[in-house]
């Protein structure tokens, strides 16, 4: 029975899905790398450049005021999307007890990588010291792990890694077992980009909070595929990228708890973030501008606003449900392929719409290359997670990742292409 969660009307917004690749119908199963962009997002960006493409926060004329207002409206949309304003509020303007001024806690960045570097540089280098422990996992994306390497080298802090099983899973108990009196910081992904595994972050965050451990959540996959509420999870930091949730590349969001952001030094210095500038000293704007130096990606942020509207119209719970059903369908279809070796929970309840696998005896690049000839786009290799590959003792995987615009027919095409790859390399 076909899946019915997502309305058929969305497909007209993704004309790329009707195109061909290698002369075959284009089957896109690489949304964990970047999502496709619907027409309303393109329209929002075009409208900015075409109709009022001027700078924000500085002009005293109508077009600049319009651009500034629409830019700040997107910040409100992010606040609402993240449940940071009071439930039911219009555009996130009503504060909550824990977040009396949510506008100050949402920073626009160039993406997850910049947000992660911002935290490591501005918080890590000044707050961590020799003897402190950074608790993380071997499953992390390089953008989450690597910025902490130089911090550890510079401060003398050390790493502790939560043990994982052969499928790259760990439990709340595994996490708790690694907390020591020296743990100052816990850094982990809310949904693995390698396996789709979703650890019990709510309980992990609560446990860390009770012990005064600062928490950083990589939300690049989590926020784009699941309903997420900051008020519910209460991490100290969480970041994600617009381009994984229908928005353009070059835009991301850092959520930071105000008390922490207040005590941090700026990450980038320059225009827009300064309050006063004298010959030999300057002072900075309050949050969030303190962390938003220079002209931002205005069109990108406006496009991101349209992306959030688009996701909200479908509803994140519906998106999660659709991906769960699609993943179950894929796991069921592939269970008939004896060479299929899934990596990760292989349980839609414990993972997002990411299916990482190998075919017995065939290198992941070879599988990817054959899939390419069939018009099927997947990612192959280490997925920016070399420690995870080392831990699991493999050189790479094939990763098919889904979004709400994927259908059962895409999974059927994947299975057919996999069977072709098996024939080629048999």
């Amino acid at each position: 029975m076909p899946l019915r969660t997502i309305p058929e009307s969305i497909y007209k917004d993704f004309p790329i899905l009707a195109s061909t690749m290698r002369r075959k119908p284009f089957v896109y199963l690489d949304s964990a790398a970047t999502s496709l962009t619907p027409e309303p997002v393109l329209e929002a960006m075009n409208a900015y450049y075409r109709e009022y493409g001027v700078n924000i926060h500085r002009g005293v004329y109508e077009f600049s005021e319009r651009a500034s207002r629409l830019f700040e409206d997107v910040r409100s949309k992010v606040i609402d999307y993240l449940g940071l304003g009071q439930a039911g509020s219009n555009a996130g303007t009503l504060p909550t007890k824990n977040h009396p001024n949510p506008r100050q806690e949402i920073i626009f960045t160039r993406g997850s990588t910049e947000a992660s570097n911002l935290i490591a540089y501005s918080w890590g280098r000044t707050q961590l010291q020799a003897g402190d422990e950074i608790l993380t996992t071997e499953l992390e994306h390089h953008s989450t792990l690597v910025p902490w390497h130089p911090v550890a080298q510079k401060t003398g802090a050390s790493f502790r890694f939560v043990p994982m099983d052969a499928q790259g899973q760990y439990s709340l108990e595994d996490f708790l077992g690694c907390i020591t009196p020296k743990t100052r910081l816990a850094v982990f992904s809310g949904m693995s980009n390698v396996t789709g595994f979703t650890p019990p972050i709510k309980q992990m965050l609560a446990a860390a909070r009770e012990r005064g451990i600062v928490t950083v959540v990589d939300g690049a996959q989590l926020v784009s595929h699941n309903p997420v509420s900051i008020s519910d999870l209460e991490p100290d930091f969480l970041y994600f990228s617009a381009h994984k949730m229908l928005g353009p590349t070059g835009v991301g969001v850092l959520y930071g708890r105000r008390a922490l952001l207040e005590e941090m030094e700026p990450f980038l210095y320059g225009g827009d973030m300064i309050h006063q500038v004298h010959r030999d000293w300057s002072s900075y704007h309050p949050l969030p501008e303190k962390f938003e130096a220079g002209t931002p990606n205005i069109a990108g942020v406006l496009g991101f606003g349209a992306a959030i509207d688009y996701l909200n119209a479908i509803g994140m719970p519906a998106i999660r449900r659709h991906e769960t059903e699609l993943l179950a369908y894929a796991l069921d279809s592939l269970s008939a392929v004896p060479e299929f070796r899934g990596l990760g929970p292989s349980d839609p309840a414990k993972q997002g719409g990411i299916l990482s696998f190998n075919l017995q005896g065939i290198h992941s690049h070879d599988v990817g290359a054959v899939l390419d000839t069939q018009g099927v786009a997947v990612r192959t290799g280490v997925h920016c997670a070399q420690p995870a590959m080392e831990r699991m003792g493999i050189s790479g995987t094939v990763r098919a990742s889904m979004y709400f615009y994927n259908r059962e027919a895409d999974i059927d095409a994947l299975v057919l292409a996999i069977k072709n790859a098996l024939k080629v390399f048999a």
Binding site: S364, D366, A369, T373, V382, Q386, S395, G396, V424
Partner: protein
């Protein structure tokens, strides 16, 4: 790209995928992007490459390229092996299709199955031509040859 019959023959019948006895040089190259690695062994005797072999973990392109390398340098001097290498790089990087004759001016090798004549050599080398359109896979095919460059440089 789906590997052609020539590539698949190199991949499936990789008879040089072994550590040769009495090797005289050993070089390893790693592709950090994907974790693939190739170790190339050569046995030099009297100024000529008398045996070649490899150990590798990698995709079919990495393995078939290493096998082609081993088959095609037997009986050659380091200078002649360099010519083959230049020919291979020209095939995967260049714009024109180089003449195989340019790459085989060395001593003919008499052991069976090794390529020493241009006509035998050409189709296996030319099977790597589609890589010109696949820059992301180029390093898969050149990994083994990076070892040869080092071996030749070391004499």
């Amino acid at each position: 790209m789906v590997p052609s019959a020539y590539l698949m023959e190199l991949f499936k019948a990789a008879r040089h995928r072994r550590e040769p006895a009495q090797w005289t040089s050993k070089h390893e190259a790693n592709n950090r992007a994907c974790g693939d690695r190739v170790t190339l062994y050569l046995r030099m005797e009297g100024g000529l490459i008398r045996d070649a072999g490899f150990e590798a973990e990698g995709c079919s392109l990495t393995l078939s390229s290493a096998e082609l390398l081993c088959r095609s340098v037997l009986g050659l001097s380091p200078a002649e092996a360099s010519q083959r290498m230049a020919y291979f790089y020209e095939l995967v990087d260049g714009s024109a299709i180089p003449s195989p004759e340019a790459a085989v001016s060395g001593q003919p090798d008499t052991s069976s199955g090794n390529f020493s004549q241009p006509a035998e050599l050409a189709p296996y080398f030319e099977a790597f031509l589609p890589l010109r359109e696949l820059p992301l896979r180029r390093r898969c095919a050149t990994l083994a040859w990076e070892n040869l460059a080092e071996a030749v440089q070391a004499g």
